[in-house]
Symmetry: C2
Subunit: 284 residues, 2 copies
Amino acid sequence: MFAIGSVERDTGISRDTLRIWERRYGFPTPERNDKGERVYSAEQIQRLQRIRRLLDQGFRPGKVVPLEDEALNKLADTLHDVLLSQRGIDPAHTRLIDLASSGDIPALNSALEQVLAREGLSSFVLDTFAPLTKSVGELWAAGRLQIFEEHILTRHLVRFLEVAMSRVGYPPGNPEVLLGTLPGEQHALGLLMAEALLINSGRATLNLGTDVPLDEIVTAAERSGVSTVALSFSGCYTRNAIRDDLEELAERLPRAIRIWIGGDGVRRLRRLPPSVEIMSLESI
Amino acid sequence: MFAIGSVERDTGISRDTLRIWERRYGFPTPERNDKGERVYSAEQIQRLQRIRRLLDQGFRPGKVVPLEDEALNKLADTLHDVLLSQRGIDPAHTRLIDLASSGDIPALNSALEQVLAREGLSSFVLDTFAPLTKSVGELWAAGRLQIFEEHILTRHLVRFLEVAMSRVGYPPGNPEVLLGTLPGEQHALGLLMAEALLINSGRATLNLGTDVPLDEIVTAAERSGVSTVALSFSGCYTRNAIRDDLEELAERLPRAIRIWIGGDGVRRLRRLPPSVEIMSLESI
DNA sequence: AAGCATTTTTTGTCCTAGACAAAAGAAATT
DNA sequence: AATTTCTTTTGTCTAGGACAAAAAATGCTT
Protein backbone atom coordinates (compact mmCIF):
# COMPACT_ATOMS: atom_id res chain seq x y z
CA MET A 1 0.00 0.00 0.00
CA PHE A 2 1.33 3.41 -1.00
CA ALA A 3 1.02 6.99 0.28
CA ILE A 4 -0.22 9.75 -2.00
CA GLY A 5 3.31 11.10 -2.41
CA SER A 6 4.60 7.82 -3.83
CA VAL A 7 1.64 7.67 -6.17
CA GLU A 8 2.42 11.16 -7.40
CA ARG A 9 6.01 10.11 -8.04
CA ASP A 10 5.13 6.82 -9.74
CA THR A 11 2.30 8.14 -11.92
CA GLY A 12 3.22 11.77 -12.51
CA ILE A 13 -0.24 12.82 -11.33
CA SER A 14 -0.15 15.50 -8.64
CA ARG A 15 -1.63 15.05 -5.16
CA ASP A 16 -4.12 17.77 -5.78
CA THR A 17 -5.28 16.08 -8.94
CA LEU A 18 -5.52 12.68 -7.27
CA ARG A 19 -7.69 14.12 -4.51
CA ILE A 20 -9.94 16.00 -6.87
CA TRP A 21 -10.42 13.00 -9.19
CA GLU A 22 -11.55 11.07 -6.13
CA ARG A 23 -14.12 13.78 -5.40
CA ARG A 24 -15.28 14.27 -8.99
CA TYR A 25 -15.03 10.92 -10.71
CA GLY A 26 -15.09 8.48 -7.82
CA PHE A 27 -11.68 7.13 -8.76
CA PRO A 28 -9.20 6.37 -7.32
CA THR A 29 -10.76 5.07 -4.10
CA PRO A 30 -7.89 4.80 -1.64
CA GLU A 31 -8.32 3.30 1.80
CA ARG A 32 -7.13 5.15 4.88
CA ASN A 33 -4.40 4.27 7.34
CA ASP A 34 -4.79 4.79 11.11
CA LYS A 35 -3.59 8.38 10.67
CA GLY A 36 -6.47 9.02 8.30
CA GLU A 37 -4.18 9.31 5.29
CA ARG A 38 -4.95 7.90 1.85
CA VAL A 39 -3.25 4.61 0.98
CA TYR A 40 -3.41 3.29 -2.56
CA SER A 41 -3.26 -0.35 -3.65
CA ALA A 42 -0.84 -1.52 -6.33
CA GLU A 43 -3.81 -2.28 -8.58
CA GLN A 44 -5.11 1.27 -8.38
CA ILE A 45 -1.67 2.64 -9.14
CA GLN A 46 -1.43 0.42 -12.17
CA ARG A 47 -4.80 1.66 -13.36
CA LEU A 48 -3.70 5.24 -12.76
CA GLN A 49 -0.65 4.64 -14.91
CA ARG A 50 -2.85 3.27 -17.66
CA ILE A 51 -5.05 6.35 -17.36
CA ARG A 52 -2.00 8.57 -17.46
CA ARG A 53 -0.82 7.06 -20.71
CA LEU A 54 -4.21 7.59 -22.31
CA LEU A 55 -4.22 11.22 -21.17
CA ASP A 56 -0.79 11.67 -22.72
CA GLN A 57 -2.28 10.49 -25.99
CA GLY A 58 -4.85 13.27 -25.84
CA PHE A 59 -7.86 11.76 -24.05
CA ARG A 60 -9.62 13.92 -21.48
CA PRO A 61 -9.87 13.01 -17.80
CA GLY A 62 -13.66 13.09 -17.71
CA LYS A 63 -13.74 10.44 -20.43
CA VAL A 64 -11.26 7.96 -19.02
CA VAL A 65 -10.88 8.39 -15.27
CA PRO A 66 -14.39 7.09 -14.45
CA LEU A 67 -14.02 4.07 -16.76
CA GLU A 68 -14.11 0.53 -15.39
CA ASP A 69 -11.07 -1.68 -15.79
CA GLU A 70 -12.55 -3.51 -18.76
CA ALA A 71 -13.53 -0.47 -20.77
CA LEU A 72 -10.12 1.02 -20.06
CA ASN A 73 -8.33 -2.05 -21.32
CA LYS A 74 -10.42 -2.15 -24.44
CA LEU A 75 -9.78 1.49 -25.21
CA ALA A 76 -6.05 1.17 -24.73
CA ASP A 77 -5.99 -2.04 -26.70
CA THR A 78 -7.51 -0.62 -29.85
CA LEU A 79 -5.52 2.59 -29.70
CA HIS A 80 -2.26 1.59 -31.32
CA ASP A 81 -3.94 -0.39 -34.08
CA VAL A 82 -6.15 2.53 -34.99
CA LEU A 83 -3.29 5.01 -35.07
CA LEU A 84 -1.12 2.64 -37.04
CA SER A 85 -3.74 1.90 -39.66
CA GLN A 86 -4.35 5.62 -40.04
CA ARG A 87 -0.72 6.09 -40.99
CA GLY A 88 -0.65 3.13 -43.32
CA ILE A 89 1.55 0.11 -42.78
CA ASP A 90 5.12 -0.24 -43.94
CA PRO A 91 6.32 -3.87 -43.65
CA ALA A 92 9.93 -2.92 -42.85
CA HIS A 93 8.68 -0.69 -40.12
CA THR A 94 6.34 -3.37 -38.78
CA ARG A 95 9.29 -5.69 -38.41
CA LEU A 96 11.20 -3.10 -36.35
CA ILE A 97 8.18 -2.58 -34.13
CA ASP A 98 7.92 -6.31 -33.56
CA LEU A 99 11.56 -6.45 -32.58
CA ALA A 100 11.07 -3.48 -30.30
CA SER A 101 7.97 -4.84 -28.60
CA SER A 102 9.50 -8.30 -28.22
CA GLY A 103 12.47 -6.73 -26.44
CA ASP A 104 15.08 -8.37 -28.64
CA ILE A 105 17.63 -5.58 -28.38
CA PRO A 106 20.55 -7.16 -30.26
CA ALA A 107 18.30 -8.01 -33.21
CA LEU A 108 16.77 -4.53 -33.17
CA ASN A 109 20.24 -3.09 -33.03
CA SER A 110 21.54 -4.88 -36.09
CA ALA A 111 18.33 -4.16 -37.99
CA LEU A 112 18.77 -0.48 -37.23
CA GLU A 113 22.44 -0.64 -38.26
CA GLN A 114 21.43 -2.08 -41.60
CA VAL A 115 18.88 0.60 -42.31
CA LEU A 116 21.32 3.28 -41.21
CA ALA A 117 24.05 1.98 -43.46
CA ARG A 118 21.68 1.75 -46.42
CA GLU A 119 19.89 5.05 -46.08
CA GLY A 120 22.35 7.38 -44.42
CA LEU A 121 21.74 9.31 -41.24
CA SER A 122 19.22 11.89 -42.43
CA SER A 123 16.89 9.52 -44.17
CA PHE A 124 17.32 7.03 -41.32
CA VAL A 125 16.20 9.60 -38.77
CA LEU A 126 13.25 10.85 -40.81
CA ASP A 127 11.89 7.62 -42.23
CA THR A 128 12.83 5.03 -39.65
CA PHE A 129 13.83 6.46 -36.30
CA ALA A 130 11.06 9.05 -35.97
CA PRO A 131 8.16 6.69 -36.83
CA LEU A 132 9.70 4.04 -34.60
CA THR A 133 9.80 6.32 -31.56
CA LYS A 134 6.22 7.30 -32.31
CA SER A 135 5.18 3.67 -32.36
CA VAL A 136 7.01 2.98 -29.12
CA GLY A 137 5.03 5.82 -27.54
CA GLU A 138 1.78 4.36 -28.80
CA LEU A 139 2.60 0.82 -27.74
CA TRP A 140 3.37 2.24 -24.34
CA ALA A 141 0.07 4.11 -24.24
CA ALA A 142 -1.73 0.96 -25.31
CA GLY A 143 -0.15 -0.89 -22.40
CA ARG A 144 1.61 -3.41 -24.63
CA LEU A 145 4.96 -2.52 -23.16
CA GLN A 146 5.87 -2.83 -19.52
CA ILE A 147 7.47 0.21 -17.96
CA PHE A 148 10.87 -1.43 -17.91
CA GLU A 149 10.56 -2.43 -21.56
CA GLU A 150 9.83 1.15 -22.49
CA HIS A 151 12.80 2.29 -20.40
CA ILE A 152 15.15 -0.14 -22.12
CA LEU A 153 13.89 0.68 -25.58
CA THR A 154 14.10 4.43 -25.17
CA ARG A 155 17.56 4.26 -23.63
CA HIS A 156 18.68 2.04 -26.41
CA LEU A 157 17.29 4.23 -29.15
CA VAL A 158 18.95 7.29 -27.63
CA ARG A 159 22.24 5.50 -27.38
CA PHE A 160 22.02 4.23 -30.91
CA LEU A 161 21.47 7.69 -32.30
CA GLU A 162 24.21 9.26 -30.19
CA VAL A 163 26.72 6.71 -31.37
CA ALA A 164 25.59 7.23 -34.96
CA MET A 165 26.11 10.97 -34.51
CA SER A 166 29.57 10.49 -33.08
CA ARG A 167 30.51 8.43 -36.14
CA VAL A 168 29.48 11.27 -38.44
CA GLY A 169 31.62 13.50 -36.26
CA TYR A 170 30.74 16.76 -34.56
CA PRO A 171 31.24 19.69 -36.92
CA PRO A 172 34.09 21.96 -35.77
CA GLY A 173 33.69 25.61 -34.92
CA ASN A 174 31.21 27.56 -32.87
CA PRO A 175 27.73 26.10 -32.54
CA GLU A 176 25.04 27.57 -34.78
CA VAL A 177 21.96 26.08 -33.20
CA LEU A 178 21.15 25.73 -29.52
CA LEU A 179 18.67 22.98 -28.65
CA GLY A 180 16.65 22.51 -25.50
CA THR A 181 13.28 22.09 -23.81
CA LEU A 182 11.74 24.31 -21.16
CA PRO A 183 11.08 23.25 -17.55
CA GLY A 184 8.52 20.49 -17.25
CA GLU A 185 9.23 19.08 -20.66
CA GLN A 186 11.03 15.73 -20.43
CA HIS A 187 10.87 14.48 -23.99
CA ALA A 188 14.45 14.45 -25.25
CA LEU A 189 14.08 12.36 -28.38
CA GLY A 190 12.82 15.18 -30.58
CA LEU A 191 15.83 17.27 -29.69
CA LEU A 192 18.14 14.40 -30.39
CA MET A 193 16.69 13.77 -33.82
CA ALA A 194 16.94 17.46 -34.69
CA GLU A 195 20.53 17.46 -33.49
CA ALA A 196 21.37 14.45 -35.62
CA LEU A 197 19.95 16.10 -38.74
CA LEU A 198 21.77 19.34 -38.04
CA ILE A 199 25.08 17.63 -37.43
CA ASN A 200 24.62 15.57 -40.54
CA SER A 201 24.23 18.74 -42.56
CA GLY A 202 27.44 20.11 -41.11
CA ARG A 203 26.01 22.55 -38.62
CA ALA A 204 27.48 22.54 -35.12
CA THR A 205 24.96 22.33 -32.28
CA LEU A 206 24.77 22.89 -28.56
CA ASN A 207 22.24 20.56 -26.97
CA LEU A 208 21.22 21.69 -23.49
CA GLY A 209 18.88 18.75 -23.02
CA THR A 210 15.56 18.88 -21.21
CA ASP A 211 14.14 21.01 -18.44
CA VAL A 212 16.17 24.18 -18.95
CA PRO A 213 14.86 27.37 -17.31
CA LEU A 214 14.12 30.18 -19.74
CA ASP A 215 16.74 32.59 -18.50
CA GLU A 216 19.37 29.88 -18.71
CA ILE A 217 18.48 29.44 -22.37
CA VAL A 218 18.90 33.18 -22.89
CA THR A 219 22.27 33.23 -21.13
CA ALA A 220 23.48 30.15 -22.98
CA ALA A 221 22.40 31.57 -26.34
CA GLU A 222 24.21 34.84 -25.71
CA ARG A 223 27.39 33.25 -24.43
CA SER A 224 27.66 30.61 -27.11
CA GLY A 225 26.98 32.95 -30.01
CA VAL A 226 24.43 30.73 -31.76
CA SER A 227 22.22 32.18 -34.49
CA THR A 228 19.24 29.98 -33.74
CA VAL A 229 17.50 28.61 -30.64
CA ALA A 230 15.46 25.45 -31.24
CA LEU A 231 12.87 24.33 -28.71
CA SER A 232 10.74 21.20 -28.63
CA PHE A 233 7.27 21.00 -27.08
CA SER A 234 5.49 17.70 -26.59
CA GLY A 235 1.71 17.37 -26.61
CA CYS A 236 1.53 17.77 -22.82
CA TYR A 237 2.51 21.43 -23.03
CA THR A 238 -0.55 23.67 -23.28
CA ARG A 239 -0.87 26.17 -26.07
CA ASN A 240 -1.01 29.22 -23.87
CA ALA A 241 1.99 28.15 -21.87
CA ILE A 242 3.90 27.79 -25.13
CA ARG A 243 2.76 31.20 -26.37
CA ASP A 244 3.67 32.94 -23.11
CA ASP A 245 7.07 31.31 -22.93
CA LEU A 246 7.80 32.12 -26.56
CA GLU A 247 6.83 35.75 -26.13
CA GLU A 248 9.09 36.09 -23.13
CA LEU A 249 11.91 34.33 -24.91
CA ALA A 250 11.56 36.44 -28.07
CA GLU A 251 11.68 39.56 -25.95
CA ARG A 252 14.73 38.63 -23.96
CA LEU A 253 16.80 37.12 -26.73
CA PRO A 254 18.94 39.37 -28.97
CA ARG A 255 17.04 40.31 -32.12
CA ALA A 256 19.48 38.55 -34.43
CA ILE A 257 18.71 35.15 -32.97
CA ARG A 258 15.96 33.14 -34.64
CA ILE A 259 13.69 30.79 -32.72
CA TRP A 260 12.66 27.43 -34.12
CA ILE A 261 9.96 25.38 -32.46
CA GLY A 262 8.87 21.82 -33.06
CA GLY A 263 7.15 18.82 -31.54
CA ASP A 264 3.55 17.69 -31.13
CA GLY A 265 2.69 20.69 -28.95
CA VAL A 266 3.08 23.27 -31.72
CA ARG A 267 0.69 21.87 -34.33
CA ARG A 268 -2.33 23.96 -33.46
CA LEU A 269 -0.41 27.11 -32.68
CA ARG A 270 -1.09 30.45 -34.34
CA ARG A 271 -0.04 34.07 -34.01
CA LEU A 272 3.58 33.65 -33.12
CA PRO A 273 6.08 36.39 -32.29
CA PRO A 274 7.84 37.53 -35.49
CA SER A 275 11.17 35.82 -34.82
CA VAL A 276 9.55 32.43 -34.20
CA GLU A 277 9.20 29.77 -36.91
CA ILE A 278 7.59 26.35 -36.73
CA MET A 279 10.06 23.76 -37.98
CA SER A 280 9.47 20.12 -38.76
CA LEU A 281 12.27 17.60 -38.80
CA GLU A 282 11.84 17.32 -42.57
CA SER A 283 12.60 20.99 -43.11
CA ILE A 284 15.94 20.94 -41.28
CA MET B 1 7.04 36.78 -11.01
CA PHE B 2 6.32 33.08 -10.57
CA ALA B 3 3.58 30.97 -8.95
CA ILE B 4 4.41 28.38 -6.32
CA GLY B 5 3.96 25.57 -8.83
CA SER B 6 6.63 26.97 -11.16
CA VAL B 7 8.96 27.40 -8.21
CA GLU B 8 8.44 23.79 -7.23
CA ARG B 9 9.27 22.72 -10.78
CA ASP B 10 12.32 24.97 -11.12
CA THR B 11 13.84 24.29 -7.73
CA GLY B 12 12.69 20.76 -6.92
CA ILE B 13 11.38 21.99 -3.55
CA SER B 14 7.76 20.98 -2.90
CA ARG B 15 4.96 23.48 -2.33
CA ASP B 16 4.43 22.20 1.18
CA THR B 17 8.07 22.70 1.96
CA LEU B 18 8.14 26.19 0.47
CA ARG B 19 5.16 27.22 2.59
CA ILE B 20 6.56 25.74 5.76
CA TRP B 21 9.99 27.30 5.26
CA GLU B 22 8.22 30.64 4.98
CA ARG B 23 6.51 30.01 8.32
CA ARG B 24 9.53 28.59 10.12
CA TYR B 25 12.57 30.36 8.74
CA GLY B 26 11.11 33.55 7.31
CA PHE B 27 12.33 32.67 3.83
CA PRO B 28 11.25 32.78 1.07
CA THR B 29 9.06 35.88 1.40
CA PRO B 30 6.82 35.86 -1.68
CA GLU B 31 4.46 38.70 -2.48
CA ARG B 32 0.82 38.08 -3.27
CA ASN B 33 -1.14 38.55 -6.47
CA ASP B 34 -4.70 39.93 -6.49
CA LYS B 35 -6.00 36.41 -5.95
CA GLY B 36 -4.01 36.19 -2.74
CA GLU B 37 -1.61 33.66 -4.17
CA ARG B 38 2.12 33.63 -3.53
CA VAL B 39 4.29 35.07 -6.29
CA TYR B 40 8.05 34.66 -6.14
CA SER B 41 10.65 36.96 -7.64
CA ALA B 42 13.42 35.64 -9.87
CA GLU B 43 15.94 36.61 -7.19
CA GLN B 44 14.24 34.50 -4.56
CA ILE B 45 14.10 31.55 -6.93
CA GLN B 46 17.78 31.89 -7.61
CA ARG B 47 18.48 31.92 -3.89
CA LEU B 48 16.27 28.87 -3.45
CA GLN B 49 18.28 27.06 -6.10
CA ARG B 50 21.47 27.95 -4.29
CA ILE B 51 19.95 26.63 -1.07
CA ARG B 52 18.86 23.48 -2.84
CA ARG B 53 22.37 22.76 -4.03
CA LEU B 54 23.75 23.16 -0.53
CA LEU B 55 21.10 20.81 0.84
CA ASP B 56 22.10 18.25 -1.80
CA GLN B 57 25.62 18.45 -0.45
CA GLY B 58 24.37 17.50 3.01
CA PHE B 59 23.64 20.79 4.76
CA ARG B 60 20.48 20.98 6.85
CA PRO B 61 17.63 23.38 6.13
CA GLY B 62 17.73 25.05 9.55
CA LYS B 63 21.36 26.01 8.91
CA VAL B 64 21.08 27.43 5.41
CA VAL B 65 17.52 28.54 4.66
CA PRO B 66 17.58 31.48 7.12
CA LEU B 67 20.98 32.69 5.88
CA GLU B 68 21.36 36.10 4.25
CA ASP B 69 22.54 36.29 0.65
CA GLU B 70 26.08 37.15 1.66
CA ALA B 71 26.57 34.34 4.14
CA LEU B 72 25.06 31.94 1.62
CA ASN B 73 27.47 33.01 -1.09
CA LYS B 74 30.42 32.70 1.25
CA LEU B 75 29.41 29.23 2.33
CA ALA B 76 28.92 28.01 -1.23
CA ASP B 77 32.12 29.67 -2.32
CA THR B 78 34.38 27.91 0.14
CA LEU B 79 32.69 24.54 -0.31
CA HIS B 80 34.42 23.19 -3.40
CA ASP B 81 37.85 24.36 -2.31
CA VAL B 82 37.49 22.67 1.04
CA LEU B 83 36.32 19.39 -0.46
CA LEU B 84 39.01 19.49 -3.09
CA SER B 85 41.82 20.14 -0.65
CA GLN B 86 40.55 17.32 1.53
CA ARG B 87 40.99 14.92 -1.37
CA GLY B 88 44.37 16.25 -2.35
CA ILE B 89 45.10 17.87 -5.70
CA ASP B 90 46.11 16.06 -8.87
CA PRO B 91 47.39 18.52 -11.51
CA ALA B 92 46.04 16.50 -14.46
CA HIS B 93 42.67 16.44 -12.83
CA THR B 94 42.81 20.16 -12.08
CA ARG B 95 43.34 20.83 -15.76
CA LEU B 96 40.24 18.81 -16.67
CA ILE B 97 38.19 20.67 -14.09
CA ASP B 98 39.38 23.97 -15.50
CA LEU B 99 38.35 22.90 -18.98
CA ALA B 100 35.00 21.72 -17.65
CA SER B 101 34.27 24.89 -15.71
CA SER B 102 35.39 27.11 -18.57
CA GLY B 103 32.93 25.30 -20.84
CA ASP B 104 35.46 24.51 -23.54
CA ILE B 105 33.84 21.28 -24.66
CA PRO B 106 36.06 20.45 -27.66
CA ALA B 107 39.18 20.89 -25.56
CA LEU B 108 37.71 18.83 -22.74
CA ASN B 109 36.75 16.21 -25.26
CA SER B 110 40.19 15.77 -26.71
CA ALA B 111 41.76 15.82 -23.25
CA LEU B 112 39.43 13.02 -22.22
CA GLU B 113 40.20 11.09 -25.42
CA GLN B 114 43.90 11.28 -24.61
CA VAL B 115 43.48 9.98 -21.10
CA LEU B 116 41.17 7.24 -22.33
CA ALA B 117 43.62 6.11 -24.98
CA ARG B 118 46.50 6.10 -22.52
CA GLU B 119 44.84 4.43 -19.57
CA GLY B 120 42.15 2.19 -21.05
CA LEU B 121 38.49 2.27 -20.17
CA SER B 122 38.57 0.83 -16.65
CA SER B 123 41.29 3.02 -15.30
CA PHE B 124 39.83 6.00 -17.15
CA VAL B 125 36.47 5.53 -15.44
CA LEU B 126 37.94 4.99 -11.99
CA ASP B 127 40.71 7.55 -11.92
CA THR B 128 39.48 10.27 -14.24
CA PHE B 129 35.81 10.11 -15.02
CA ALA B 130 34.54 9.42 -11.49
CA PRO B 131 36.50 12.21 -9.77
CA LEU B 132 35.61 14.56 -12.59
CA THR B 133 31.87 14.00 -12.17
CA LYS B 134 32.32 14.48 -8.44
CA SER B 135 34.03 17.80 -9.03
CA VAL B 136 31.34 18.90 -11.44
CA GLY B 137 28.76 18.20 -8.73
CA GLU B 138 30.73 20.26 -6.24
CA LEU B 139 31.30 23.14 -8.62
CA TRP B 140 27.59 23.12 -9.24
CA ALA B 141 26.85 23.15 -5.51
CA ALA B 142 29.31 25.98 -5.06
CA GLY B 143 27.46 27.97 -7.70
CA ARG B 144 30.47 28.25 -9.98
CA LEU B 145 28.57 26.69 -12.83
CA GLN B 146 25.41 28.07 -14.34
CA ILE B 147 22.57 25.64 -14.71
CA PHE B 148 23.07 25.43 -18.45
CA GLU B 149 26.76 24.81 -18.06
CA GLU B 150 26.06 21.93 -15.75
CA HIS B 151 23.51 20.57 -18.25
CA ILE B 152 25.98 20.73 -21.11
CA LEU B 153 28.78 19.18 -19.12
CA THR B 154 26.75 16.30 -17.77
CA ARG B 155 25.23 15.54 -21.18
CA HIS B 156 28.63 15.62 -22.70
CA LEU B 157 30.20 13.35 -20.11
CA VAL B 158 27.38 10.84 -20.54
CA ARG B 159 27.76 10.89 -24.28
CA PHE B 160 31.50 10.51 -24.10
CA LEU B 161 31.24 7.43 -21.94
CA GLU B 162 28.50 5.87 -24.05
CA VAL B 163 30.53 6.27 -27.20
CA ALA B 164 33.58 4.85 -25.42
CA MET B 165 31.49 1.86 -24.39
CA SER B 166 30.21 1.32 -27.90
CA ARG B 167 33.80 1.22 -29.15
CA VAL B 168 34.66 -1.53 -26.69
CA GLY B 169 31.58 -3.32 -28.00
CA TYR B 170 28.70 -4.79 -26.07
CA PRO B 171 29.45 -8.33 -24.93
CA PRO B 172 27.26 -10.89 -26.69
CA GLY B 173 24.89 -13.25 -24.92
CA ASN B 174 22.35 -12.82 -22.18
CA PRO B 175 22.90 -9.98 -19.74
CA GLU B 176 24.41 -10.89 -16.37
CA VAL B 177 23.85 -7.68 -14.48
CA LEU B 178 20.77 -5.49 -14.44
CA LEU B 179 21.36 -1.84 -13.51
CA GLY B 180 18.87 0.76 -12.37
CA THR B 181 17.76 3.29 -9.79
CA LEU B 182 14.49 3.32 -7.87
CA PRO B 183 11.79 5.99 -8.27
CA GLY B 184 12.89 9.44 -7.18
CA GLU B 185 16.54 8.79 -7.90
CA GLN B 186 17.71 10.73 -10.96
CA HIS B 187 21.45 10.28 -10.84
CA ALA B 188 22.36 8.17 -13.84
CA LEU B 189 26.11 8.68 -13.95
CA GLY B 190 26.90 6.09 -11.29
CA LEU B 191 24.99 3.46 -13.23
CA LEU B 192 26.75 4.41 -16.42
CA MET B 193 30.19 4.10 -14.88
CA ALA B 194 29.32 0.72 -13.42
CA GLU B 195 28.03 -0.37 -16.80
CA ALA B 196 31.21 0.73 -18.51
CA LEU B 197 33.35 -1.26 -16.07
CA LEU B 198 31.19 -4.34 -16.45
CA ILE B 199 31.20 -4.20 -20.22
CA ASN B 200 34.92 -3.67 -20.23
CA SER B 201 35.35 -6.86 -18.22
CA GLY B 202 33.24 -8.73 -20.74
CA ARG B 203 30.01 -8.97 -18.80
CA ALA B 204 26.80 -8.13 -20.62
CA THR B 205 24.51 -5.67 -18.87
CA LEU B 206 20.95 -4.45 -19.03
CA ASN B 207 20.70 -0.82 -17.96
CA LEU B 208 17.16 0.21 -17.10
CA GLY B 209 18.19 3.77 -16.33
CA THR B 210 16.72 5.91 -13.56
CA ASP B 211 13.40 6.02 -11.80
CA VAL B 212 12.31 2.41 -12.21
CA PRO B 213 9.50 1.16 -9.93
CA LEU B 214 10.47 -1.76 -7.72
CA ASP B 215 8.13 -4.30 -9.24
CA GLU B 216 9.36 -3.43 -12.70
CA ILE B 217 12.87 -4.22 -11.56
CA VAL B 218 11.66 -7.57 -10.27
CA THR B 219 9.87 -8.37 -13.53
CA ALA B 220 12.81 -7.25 -15.64
CA ALA B 221 15.26 -9.30 -13.58
CA GLU B 222 13.14 -12.44 -13.90
CA ARG B 223 12.49 -12.05 -17.60
CA SER B 224 16.05 -11.21 -18.57
CA GLY B 225 17.64 -13.96 -16.53
CA VAL B 226 20.35 -11.83 -14.92
CA SER B 227 22.29 -13.16 -11.94
CA THR B 228 22.77 -9.77 -10.31
CA VAL B 229 20.71 -6.62 -9.80
CA ALA B 230 22.76 -3.47 -9.22
CA LEU B 231 21.17 -0.36 -7.74
CA SER B 232 22.61 3.08 -7.17
CA PHE B 233 21.52 5.44 -4.39
CA SER B 234 22.66 9.03 -4.25
CA GLY B 235 23.06 10.97 -1.02
CA CYS B 236 19.50 12.32 -1.24
CA TYR B 237 18.00 8.91 -0.55
CA THR B 238 17.39 8.39 3.16
CA ARG B 239 18.79 5.38 4.93
CA ASN B 240 15.47 3.98 6.01
CA ALA B 241 14.00 4.31 2.56
CA ILE B 242 16.95 2.38 1.20
CA ARG B 243 16.62 -0.33 3.84
CA ASP B 244 12.88 -0.74 3.28
CA ASP B 245 13.24 -0.89 -0.47
CA LEU B 246 16.09 -3.38 -0.24
CA GLU B 247 14.15 -5.63 2.10
CA GLU B 248 11.19 -5.65 -0.24
CA LEU B 249 13.39 -6.25 -3.23
CA ALA B 250 15.30 -9.09 -1.55
CA GLU B 251 12.01 -10.72 -0.65
CA ARG B 252 10.45 -10.49 -4.09
CA LEU B 253 13.50 -11.38 -6.16
CA PRO B 254 14.35 -15.06 -6.79
CA ARG B 255 16.87 -16.28 -4.22
CA ALA B 256 19.57 -16.95 -6.79
CA ILE B 257 19.81 -13.30 -7.76
CA ARG B 258 22.37 -11.19 -5.91
CA ILE B 259 21.84 -7.52 -5.16
CA TRP B 260 24.64 -5.01 -5.44
CA ILE B 261 24.22 -1.50 -4.15
CA GLY B 262 26.41 1.54 -4.58
CA GLY B 263 26.48 5.33 -4.53
CA ASP B 264 26.83 7.98 -1.84
CA GLY B 265 23.60 6.92 -0.14
CA VAL B 266 24.93 3.53 1.02
CA ARG B 267 27.98 4.61 2.97
CA ARG B 268 26.44 4.70 6.41
CA LEU B 269 24.25 1.66 5.92
CA ARG B 270 24.31 -1.38 8.21
CA ARG B 271 22.36 -4.58 8.75
CA LEU B 272 21.55 -5.46 5.19
CA PRO B 273 19.46 -8.38 3.97
CA PRO B 274 21.69 -11.42 3.35
CA SER B 275 21.63 -11.27 -0.44
CA VAL B 276 22.70 -7.60 -0.54
CA GLU B 277 26.31 -6.49 -0.96
CA ILE B 278 27.76 -3.00 -0.99
CA MET B 279 29.87 -2.57 -4.10
CA SER B 280 32.22 0.22 -4.98
CA LEU B 281 33.20 0.95 -8.56
CA GLU B 282 36.72 -0.23 -7.74
CA SER B 283 35.54 -3.70 -6.78
CA ILE B 284 33.73 -4.38 -10.06
C1' DA C 1 37.26 5.73 21.45
C1' DA C 2 33.91 2.97 18.91
C1' DG C 3 29.48 0.86 18.82
C1' DC C 4 24.77 0.83 20.20
C1' DA C 5 20.29 2.40 22.33
C1' DT C 6 17.50 6.23 23.87
C1' DT C 7 15.91 10.92 23.95
C1' DT C 8 15.31 15.44 21.72
C1' DT C 9 15.10 18.40 17.86
C1' DT C 10 14.35 19.11 13.25
C1' DT C 11 11.91 18.50 9.18
C1' DG C 12 8.64 17.17 5.53
C1' DT C 13 4.16 15.27 4.32
C1' DC C 14 -0.65 15.05 4.62
C1' DC C 15 -5.23 16.55 5.79
C1' DT C 16 -9.71 19.53 4.73
C1' DA C 17 -13.01 21.89 1.09
C1' DG C 18 -13.80 25.90 -1.38
C1' DA C 19 -12.46 29.40 -4.73
C1' DC C 20 -11.17 30.45 -9.14
C1' DA C 21 -8.89 30.87 -13.56
C1' DA C 22 -7.01 28.56 -17.36
C1' DA C 23 -7.85 25.10 -20.97
C1' DA C 24 -10.62 22.84 -24.19
C1' DG C 25 -14.82 21.94 -26.62
C1' DA C 26 -19.07 23.65 -28.72
C1' DA C 27 -21.63 27.02 -30.92
C1' DA C 28 -22.28 31.16 -33.31
C1' DT C 29 -20.58 34.67 -36.39
C1' DT C 30 -17.89 36.88 -39.89
C1' DA D 1 -12.55 28.19 -43.24
C1' DA D 2 -11.20 31.17 -39.68
C1' DT D 3 -12.27 33.90 -35.76
C1' DT D 4 -14.99 35.17 -31.72
C1' DT D 5 -18.09 34.03 -27.84
C1' DC D 6 -20.09 30.95 -24.65
C1' DT D 7 -19.99 26.72 -21.68
C1' DT D 8 -17.99 22.94 -19.55
C1' DT D 9 -14.14 20.80 -17.80
C1' DT D 10 -10.06 20.65 -15.25
C1' DG D 11 -6.10 21.63 -12.30
C1' DT D 12 -3.91 24.70 -8.94
C1' DC D 13 -3.77 27.24 -4.79
C1' DT D 14 -5.16 28.62 -0.21
C1' DA D 15 -4.63 27.70 5.59
C1' DG D 16 -2.58 25.99 9.79
C1' DG D 17 -2.45 22.07 12.52
C1' DA D 18 -1.26 17.23 13.25
C1' DC D 19 2.04 13.91 13.21
C1' DA D 20 5.68 10.68 12.12
C1' DA D 21 10.06 10.03 10.04
C1' DA D 22 14.83 11.53 9.97
C1' DA D 23 18.81 13.29 12.06
C1' DA D 24 21.35 14.96 15.87
C1' DA D 25 22.49 14.74 20.55
C1' DT D 26 22.95 12.33 24.64
C1' DG D 27 24.01 8.59 27.55
C1' DC D 28 25.56 3.94 28.17
C1' DT D 29 28.37 -0.15 27.30
C1' DT D 30 32.25 -2.56 25.62
